[in-house]
């Protein structure tokens, strides 16, 4: 184990790395036509009020938490 890196960091790196890889793979034009990419997922929610409100609520909560409750 690298000094200063705890088990929780490793799990986040695995989740983040997998997420970034999936995001990149689905963003490739050849694959993106068959598999939904990150943009398509967000856009799917923006088709109606209920999806838009859900995303805006999550966006507001994330902003408040990151910029007002954490260092």
């Amino acid at each position: 184990m690298i000094p200063g890196v705890v088990i929780g960091d490793v799990v986040w790196m695995v989740i983040g790395g997998s997420f970034a890889t999936w995001l990149a793979v689905t963003s490739l034009p050849a694959i993106g036509r068959r598999l939904p990419n990150g943009v398509a997922i967000v856009r799917h929610f923006l088709h109606s009020w209920i999806g838009r409100v859900l995303l805006l609520g999550a966006w507001a909560e994330v902003g408040w938490h990151l910029f007002c409750q954490r260092p």
Partner: protein, 191 residues
């Protein structure tokens, strides 16, 4: 022509405001009243703008959207396809994030940091906080203006001013009940 120019001007103004706000906000520690008030005001403004600009401009009614989701899930369960599996992978990522973050939060141990704690290592610096605030604010504007229909269009009639672009229509068929997006550009929604 002048309408297009006007939209571009509004888009530029919105971008300039966002950058200026992010630059200012970057210097405010998260504990200060300034930080709390400014973030709360920005949230209120974006939500109010979304409610105003989105009035009668959603592509489909919420009930139609929900029914479309239900139909898609039932169809996937009876006849799995690659697009549905792709959407399922996104759901797994969301659950992994949410589950691990909740686990870390509940344990409150030094070796189990939450994601926001890790992000806090970045936002404690001016540059990190400014960049993240800028990205967050631009994301908020996109949620407020993205995929809005032209004024006067009825929900579901396919007269969206948004662009389809790469990856835009994939889920329209999967969950929405019909691809209704058409060409344009992202700035067009600011009408």
């Amino acid at each position: 022509m002048s309408r297009v120019v006007s939209r571009r001007v509004r888009l530029l103004l919105l971008g300039a405001f966002s950058m200026a706000f992010a630059a200012w906000e970057g210097g405010k520690p998260y504990t200060t009243t300034d930080a709390h008030v400014s973030i709360a005001v920005v949230i209120a403004v974006v939500v109010l703008v979304a409610l105003y600009s989105g009035h009668h401009r959603q592509e489909m009614k919420s009930l139609t959207w929900l029914k479309g989701m239900g139909r898609s899930i039932r169809r996937y369960l009876s006849n799995p396809d690659i697009q549905g599996t792709g959407a399922l992978v996104w759901l797994v990522f969301f659950m992994a994030y949410f589950g691990w973050d909740l686990n870390s939060f509940l344990h409150q141990q030094r070796d189990l940091p939450t994601l926001s704690y890790l992000i806090g290592r970045v936002t404690r610096y001016y540059a990190g906080r400014s960049v993240l605030v800028a990205g967050w604010l631009l994301g908020g504007w996109y949620l407020a203006f993205g995929l809005l229909q032209s004024r006067g269009a009825r929900p579901g009639d396919g007269s969206s001013a948004e662009v389809s672009g790469h990856g835009g229509d994939e889920l329209a068929q999967w969950g929405g009940g019909g691809g209704v997006e058409q060409g344009g550009n992202v700035g067009d929604e600011i009408a």
